[in-house]
């Protein structure tokens, strides 16, 4: 299996532990990754507030590069996934719009033919790879560990752009993955809600209220950690959890794990190689409960 790899900005910026962890587990899964060094940021929905056409054209540029490589695109970020899917949906459902985008791409000799289908590693594992093929690679099941799923809005909504009708298993993909890793799913209302990251610099109080509400809810239900396929959610839920905890006037102390790190732990990769020491909320108690050396 081979994919055109779109790691996104945050996996190498604010969450630098994510990129190597994702590459490490893909190596174990025998998934080959082809980087696209000329691909730009998706615009993350922010550029789209200013100019949606420009944002869509940037994504079409990336899709055209993947088409030239003849490879499907893999993302490791819920936000990248959602923004790409939305752009793709607008272009695929409106040939005139796609033609307008292609006029811009032609300036640098690119053309998008509408064949890209960007997929998050989470979806790839379930739809392309198969959880049954992942199972034999689980050498250290996360038995006894209680994990709360946290999806990130963009990988859940709007469902028409994410093709949920044809792929209903996407709705509970993270729970199924957690179960495959041998851990116990902590189901809670906040799992599909917003982490508050997009308004962090605009309305910090509301953003922190969201972090506090969801992490505290999972913690109170006995979660050992929260697992997320979105590095932007991770930034807010982990790096800003101390601030959210202060605002909520209660202790929370819930480790937030990137999805590839959870997979890596179950594959027997050391916590250090997965970058768990780089988290703001300490992962030590979780590692101790797992009964492994930190590495």
């Amino acid at each position: 299996m081979k994919y055109a790899f779109f790691p996104g900005c945050v996996s190498r910026g604010g969450c630098p532990e994510l990129y190597p962890a994702a590459k490490l587990i893909c190596q174990r899964l025998d998934i080959e990754l082809q980087e696209m060094p000329g691909a730009s940021c998706t615009g993350a929905g922010v550029l789209q507030e200013k100019n949606e056409f420009l944002g869509d054209t940037l994504n079409a540029r990336t899709f055209a590069m993947a088409e030239d490589l003849g490879l499907p695109i893999m993302t490791i970020c819920s936000t990248c996934q959602g923004v790409m899917s939305q752009a793709n949906h607008r272009m695929k459902s409106n040939p005139e719009y796609l033609a307008k985008v292609n006029v811009e791409l032609a300036e640098e000799g690119l053309e998008y033919n509408g064949n890209a289908e960007p997929k998050h590693l989470l979806w790839i594992l379930i739809e392309d790879y198969g959880l049954e093929k992942l199972e034999p690679l689980i050498t250290r099941p996360l038995a006894g560990i209680r994990l709360a799923p946290f999806y990130g809005c963009y990988i859940l909504r709007p469902t028409n752009a994410l093709d949920f009708e044809d792929n209903p298993e996407r709705q509970n993909s993270l729970e199924r993955l957690i179960e495959t890793l041998g851990a116990t799913v902590v189901d809670f209302a906040g799992k599909t809600r917003c982490c508050g990251f997009p308004i962090l610099t605009i309305n910090e109080k509301n953003s922190m209220a969201m972090v506090g509400k969801h992490t505290a809810e999972a913690k109170d239900l006995g979660a050992d950690a929260m697992v997320t396929p979105c590095p932007l959610c991770h930034l807010n839920l982990d790096a800003f959890q101390p601030k959210a905890s202060a605002q909520a006037q209660r202790s929370i102390d819930l480790p937030i794990i990137h999805m590839p790190q959870a997979i890596g732990l179950a594959m027997g990769i050391t916590p250090k190689d997965l970058g768990l020491q780089r988290h703001i909320v300490s992962t030590k108690a979780l590692i101790t409960k797992l009964g492994v050396a930190a590495g």
Binding site: C9, V10, G13, G14, C15, P16, E17, P37, G38, A39, S40, C41, G43, A44, G45, V46, L47, Q48, E49, K50, N51, E52, F53, L54, T57, L58, R61, E104, E107, E108, C153, Y154, L156, R157, P158, T159, A189, R193, C194, G196, F197, I199, T201, I202, N203, E204, K205, N206, S207, A209, M210, K213, A239, F240, P242, K243, Q277, R278, H279, I280
Partner: protein
């Protein structure tokens, strides 16, 4: 079809009222809607069950409630599609708004927000001799947003209003867009500057997190979040570009323009202002923790390969002289 309705109930008239769950088992036709089921319960099992409904045709907007955790119209959802493997369906009152009794919520907050955006045309300048004229083409794009039936489903599931009820919210902001995007509203060019200025303030358009819950639950395809994004674009284009939200979009966009990817390290100072010490100091503990955990984004920001091509694309598309 034998089904169980698990309903969250609340009676304000008992001593120390608290919400509680009650199960009702009933037999329904395969074609029955959730509302059919609720009415049957009220008429045949428990006459004290309170709910609002009227048209039964997804037109009046009375029966919005949470069905299996998400807001929707009870009359639009078929029971056979809503039940789980055990034929159970979970019914709760709409969220955010206070519960009056059982499935009835108090809409005062909803209406006060709609009223706050002046939901009527406000043309500026001299009155025309006859009526205000708007071309069909100029009005067509409003057909989506005028489909709103004020059911409150979007407000019920808004992730911001859940933590901050002062937010204007998706319904009122979509209603505001219905007027800012109307060519008859505002100045001679159809720009509603006063409205945009007001909506640009605290609790307005920039407080939306873009979580798309409202897009997902709206039973009429209004897509409130998309209207809020359009309001942001209108505000920036009208020159209201000095909010944290607008500056965040600008800083983000200029980072992409120059390097093809996001410069996370400079995004915050460029958004709040490099000399805005109180805000920057407030973020200092997080920056310091990131630094000590080896998580601070690189000081020297890397460009993508052929970043100049992205820069040229930005310049072409954003050229103000382009038609």
């Amino acid at each position: 079809m034998d089904v169980t309705f698990k309903i969250k109930r609340y009676d304000p008239e008992v001593e120390a009222p608290e919400s509680y769950w009650q199960d009702f088992s009933l037999t329904l036709d395969d074609s029955a809607t959730v509302l059919d089921g609720l009415i049957k319960i009220r008429e045949e099992i428990d006459g004290t069950l309170s709910l609002r409904c009227s048209c039964r045709s997804a037109i009046c907007g009375s029966c919005a409630m949470r069905i299996n955790g998400h807001a929707g119209l009870a009359c639009k959802m078929q029971v056979r599609l809503a039940v789980d493997d055990d034929n159970v369906i979970i019914i709760e009152p709409a969220g955010v708004m206070p519960v009056v009794k059982d499935l009835v919520v108090d809409f005062d907050m909803f209406w006060s927000k709609i009223m706050a955006v002046d939901p009527y045309l406000r043309p500026e300048g001299p009155e025309p001799d006859a009526e205000y004229i708007a071309s069909n083409e100029a009005m067509l794009h409003l057909s989506g947003v005028t489909a709103c039936i004020m059911c409150g489903a979007c407000v019920s599931d808004c992730t911001v209003m859940e933590v901050d009820p002062t937010f204007l919210g998706p319904a009122a902001l979509a209603k505001a867009y219905r007027f800012t995007a109307d060519p008859r509203d505002g100045d001679a060019q159809g720009v509603s500057r006063d409205r945009l200025e007001a909506l640009n303030g605290p609790t307005g358009m920039w407080d939306c997190t873009r979580c798309a819950e409202c897009v997902e639950v709206c039973p009429k395809g209004v897509a409130p979040m998309d209207r809020i994004m359009a309001l942001r674009e209108q505000a920036i284009n009208a020159g209201f570009d000095n909010t944290y939200g607008a500056r965040h979009a600008e800083a983000f966009s200029s980072s992409l323009e120059h390097s093809g990817q996001l410069d996370e390290l400079r995004l915050v100072p460029n958004t709040v202002g490099v000399f805005n010490l109180p805000v920057l100091l407030n973020m200092a503990p997080e920056a310091l923790r990131a630094l000590t955990h080896g998580k601070l984004p690189p000081i020297i920001h890397k460009k993508i390969e052929n970043a100049d091509r992205v820069r040229k694309l930005f310049r072409r598309v954003e050229d103000p002289d382009r038609s």
